[in-house]
Symmetry: D3
């Protein structure tokens, strides 16, 4: 029985296995016999699985925490239709083994380099010089985080590179729609699309163990990136009162569509309305597809939190 | 000064003119001096303008009613920023002159034949035989009205052929989005798109003087077309309990997205969610563009009823 | 100690008993000592009680599933005010014993034959020939399910025959109200009342282990019966565009009263408004009475889910 | 041409007439020629009609005020589908003629004596002595106003005796429903029904020119009658903390059903829930019937303010 | 190791202790091994802590109930960041020891006498004789409960004397605001402030184990005190229809600000609007401060139920 | 009859007058006789009055526009309870006469110098150096507009200096409340109070003929001032990521309290919650007082738009 890395999605029920995984979440609880146990979620790039570690000692609790890379031996079981690991053995991977966190985290379906390439090329389509310079300035400033961060803590595109991939998908939608409706200012829509969620690089802590930062909690990603546009203008000697700059700020501020969703203004530009829609489309398709991937044909998915807890049907093949 | 047909959009302030137009709306009122006058809205293909006809006699009231084609002499003035006609002379066109209602009504930017051609070609992309047969059956049944009716009484695509043009625009969006997201069942999305508003051929009275019919008021276009799908199944010997038929009915029933908007079910299929979005996008772009066309650069449009009474900004050129 | 069938409601605290019951619900869980147990709800016609089956083996899990008829020995205890069975012994009833599911399921207070009789007689009051024929046609088509199904999965009239009993109660209300207000078209109100929930025969799976069907989930009982009215018209050679038919469809479509509650149209007929009210009255009285039956005089009931989670007071005797 | 009293409903278009009516509403306005005119609404028991009185002098404005009884000569015309009087002559009736306001005001379809009789008889059905005494005490205290007042300023039962007639209709519904559902405490439902709107005798100014009083505006009819129950208890030597008294107060306080509609508590008794429903049913039927009476068969009514501005359809005969 | 009373807030993690506390809440549960345990919350004036009592026998369940005063030996531990007691020994305090419930209950930061003194002095500022007499009458009638009761069951000021302390804090706000805005009738605002929550002496059962009473549930504290004002008027020979009395009743009835929050009328007096605001300010500051006291600097508090489940940030020191 | 300036509030009904006023609003309309007239609103510091100017010629329309200072001769009349001017003579004031716009506009009850003095002194209470420097920097940058602008276009404090006066009133409330609740960080509350509406100097066009600017419409005053805080930090070499700066930005961003009211974040600091309340209190008191000033004792005010269209009662004297 060889040691495998990254194959959680391929485990078979009942068959014993021996793999290397990362601990995604660890909660210590007290069992009814008074002893402590740890409720664990393991992850690798292919998926997740939960399991209980019984009779936890102090050093177990210290070792088996969120982010730890571990050797896991056990067997996959089904209780009430939900897969669980029955843990036989669990111990920390040695640092000599050379495993790295990034090996165990879900990732965008394109590489960072591929995304960077496509986005860079698209930027030539922003023909307004002010918008082009501001977008290039901010994309450079937050470049590393932009290609690393997820697009959300848990709802949609919650994987490494998710922020850039979500942005890229929306850029493709923006192009297709602008080609169909000639009255849309494609430069403005494209600039707004690239910047719309860039504030999440400040709002969220990163790709692993994603949490809201204090600025994220107190200011929010919408205003955080709006402020950065204004600072960029100053660095680039563009007046922040210039109408083109106002339009770009409005695009970013209004992209959640409704005040109740955190936008301080509702869309008042044709392009701001379209930006709101393509954001919703790409996020919805991602959330529904993620839920349907875990659903058997002919049955309904679990409830999707980000879509009003609706359940979606996966038709029979 | 020659008689012109169809040039309301080109009138200049202060210059006298002599044209032929259709009366779109006529309301009789009593002036404060006790005499009656008619508040009129004239239209031709290029636009609309309002005017007052003073001291109306019984036969005037009879003649100058909605739908009448008239010779209009007068002068375009601006009162409080709104254009009005100061009427000098108004009389009915003679039936010998050969004018027809259709010459004075706004129309889709494509001819009925062009739309029919593009839609027929697209239908080959519906690869599921049941959906293909049902769609062809219903499109044939309502063919005349489908290429004549507006998509709404007043909100969006409120012109001759508007229903078909709105449908066609959505079909193009459906294709572009399906190409980007391979998990979408394009056949289902396309079939749902073509049928989604077809019930408006029963709900609305027609292209001129559009009103809700009694079935439109009591049943609504969503259920009206769903019923027709069921009847089509019976005619085509397809079981209405077949899952493919359920999927198609759900597409139509859920396309308003929210119960509050009249859908008896919220979308529970990936394709139903996408159908709802492309309907909203195409309708919104049409409404905003219509409002911005009447707005000066650097100012805000009038309030758009169908979009929560928001005003939209037309940037400076 | 004799074996009793159907007396859950009469158990006394602390006294040992030996009865035959049906398992209504069975959930397998993992205890903190790593062993599995089954959380069970037992039912007979007189009521329900819960209990835990510890140290469950594979074959126990297989046997003690929803729908199984079992011999149950144990003792009724109270923990935190809620009755529970402390299970001493549990084993499957033998098929020779001749027990049937229907013996253990709650039922309407009238027999199916009695209800059928009263409903058939009332149908003579539908004086409009078209409504009369449509109602007879559909009642015959769904006759078996109509007198078997519950009126809802869990909220109100959730027992065998509940759908017919709820309908019958409403018919009595319809008659009393029509006698008081002569402007009501009693024929229309009666026809709408009989059909209003008939779609639940398609929407719900049946009287035992009631679940939503796929058509129930994707189309909903309101539209399902509306479609059947249209098909009935075709079978009976009545035009579906006939105003009388429109009125009847509207009755059914609007009976939930508000768009938010799933009606695609709000009531636009006097009779449709009244139908909505009598549906609410009968359902509310049923839900409140069910909750108060389980409540001590001088105290408040548990929260009633179908009535905005309100609690109701049972006055002192 | 004789002078007629009370025949507004029978006027024919175009035929001159000479009748005696009461002025229901009078608004002075300035015409565009700088002269004043009075916009009038005339009423008698059979209905209402509007008309303009041009070139009004100071004494006209003084005479032709709300409540004045006048001789009206003129002709009924239709402008835009709405009936109007073209006034030929208008002068005050002489006090010798002996007309009285009450002759010109719409009234309940039963006489005050008939209603009083039926209500007195029903009171024997309140078998609880405390409720019976409280109800008798308060009905006596507010007797005159109770049989005079309308049930509302404009929405429903807005005629002389409307409050008592609305109460009586609800009492009949309460009886029919209590007979069908034996779990209802009929005494409690009946007592609550009789008192539920009695506070309107304090809230509203009276049957003619009905306005909200200051107590009506600051306290509201729901709390006003609740306070009177407490005072009645003191007069009758019943403890206000007695549970039976609490139940009766709750009936009255909760009868609007929702906090948003002004009830400080939602219904928490079965009887309180039923009271809310029969109030809504009787008010709705009254409002819809009033609107449909003014509607041609085959068309939709005007919007009904008290029912969310819905329009109702009057089927073809 | 001496026995300590009232020092829950000062326990250190890991150090053994021996103290006297009161049981605030006790819930019996069944452990997965089939044995019963008691989930306990202990309290003294300084705070609260939870703990589990394993293998509970019948007499333990009887003894260790809500309200019991006990000797508690054990050690404070942290599980998942929440403090818990690991119980070593637990036994009832002997009645000879002379402990009293009131010694273990959280209390207002001022003594009852101090509050009484300040409130009595303030009452001289109510210059209107009718308001002054009514307030004095009712404060005397409910004096004991007023200085004992909490202001709410759990949200804000949920400690002995909380009702009087909340009222006193609002009186100070009322004074400061009246000094700044001379248009406010300070007498009216003060009288309304003192009475606004006095109905809670009837609505809630008391300071320990606070529950809603039946009158509290069926009538609510707002109407309960309004009724008492009316009864006070009768006792004091003041007409309840006097405008000054109407104003005072309106102050009390409208103080929740919105119908949805249980006020039968929205504020219609300047002073009623201000009363609503100072109620909200004092309650909010109390709830936020309570949550922040339990929060580490630089982190977010738990969710505050009474403030829409918001979390509040405690800045770094 | 001498020419008076600024006494609109003192005109008597029926008495002829001759005064100098400013035109606040001018709308050209077409009379039913085909001639144009101007519907005018005149203002001076003491109040407003409306009037009609008949038979307007082109040069009248040009002269009598918003902002013009005019000699007005006429007589005050009452039509339907509303005061109007019957215009006898109207002509432009000559520029030699030396009238200035500022003489005719309503103003704060304190002079600009007095307010400046009080605000400057209060600033010493901001003990945190970063907040103190940022507030001073921005107050200086927008000093002129801050002491000139109204606080809103029409709702509350809609007069010259209204923005500064509203801010000052809130500062006084902030001080009183901070003195009562020692847990409030007064420096933070004060800094937030001073800046909270400063963005209105960019959002609104000025004190006369106040309109929303394009930045006001597209960005809104909340974000506009937040951006200025960030720019101020850069000018002052303070890191915008500093926690103190985050706190101050949050104060400003959250001050509308609810997302629906345009705040992109709800209050998450004790001080932010308090800031929201004192903003509401001061605005509400101002709006109610303005309405009651125009109301007779013993009657209800007109509806107040900014307070959900409520009417307020002015008690009898």
């Amino acid at each position: 029985m060889a040691i495998l890395a990254g194959q959680l999605a391929n485990l078979k029920n009942g068959a014993p296995f021996q793999i290397v995984v990362m601990i995604k979440q660890a909660e210590v609880r007290v069992a009814k016999n008074g002893k402590r146990f740890i409720s664990l979620i393991f992850q690798d790039r292919s998926g997740e699985i939960s399991g209980m570690y019984w009779d936890a000692k102090d050093e177990d609790i210290q070792h088996f925490a969120s982010g730890a890379i571990v050797h896991l031996e056990g067997q996959r079981d089904l209780y009430n239709g939900q897969p669980q690991v029955k843990i036989t053995k669990l111990f920390l991977a040695d640092s000599n083994e050379g495993f790295q966190t990034s090996q165990f985290v879900a990732q965008a379906p394109m590489s960072s380099a591929q995304m960077q390439d496509e986005i860079q090329k698209a930027m030539f389509d922003i023909q307004n010089a002010k918008w082009n310079r501001i977008v290039r300035f901010l994309l450079q400033k937050y470049q590393n985080a932009f290609y690393e961060h997820p697009a959300a803590k848990s709802n949609h595109h919650d994987f490494t590179g998710g922020l850039a991939f979500h942005t890229l998908s929306m850029m493709r939608l923006a192009k297709a729609i602008s080609q169909q409706y000639s009255q849309i200012n494609y430069s403005l829509l494209l600039a707004g699309t690239i910047l719309h969620d860039l504030g999440k690089t400040i709002e969220l802590s990163g790709a692993v163990g994603t949490e809201y930062t204090v600025p994220g909690n107190l200011i929010g990603h919408i205003v955080l990136i709006d402020e950065q546009i204004v600072l960029a203008c100053q660095a680039l000697k563009i007046s922040e009162a210039d109408e083109d700059v106002l339009l770009l700020r409005h695009m970013v501020l209004a992209h959640h569509g409704l005040l109740e969703y955190g936008s301080p203004e509702r869309p008042k530009l044709l392009e701001a309305e379209v930006l709101h829609y393509i954001d919703e489309i790409d996020a919805s398709i991602n959330m529904i597809s993620k839920a349907l991937n875990k659903t058997e044909p002919g049955s309904f998915s679990e409830r999707v939190f980000g879509l009003d807890n609706r359940q979606f049907y996966r038709p029979k093949d």
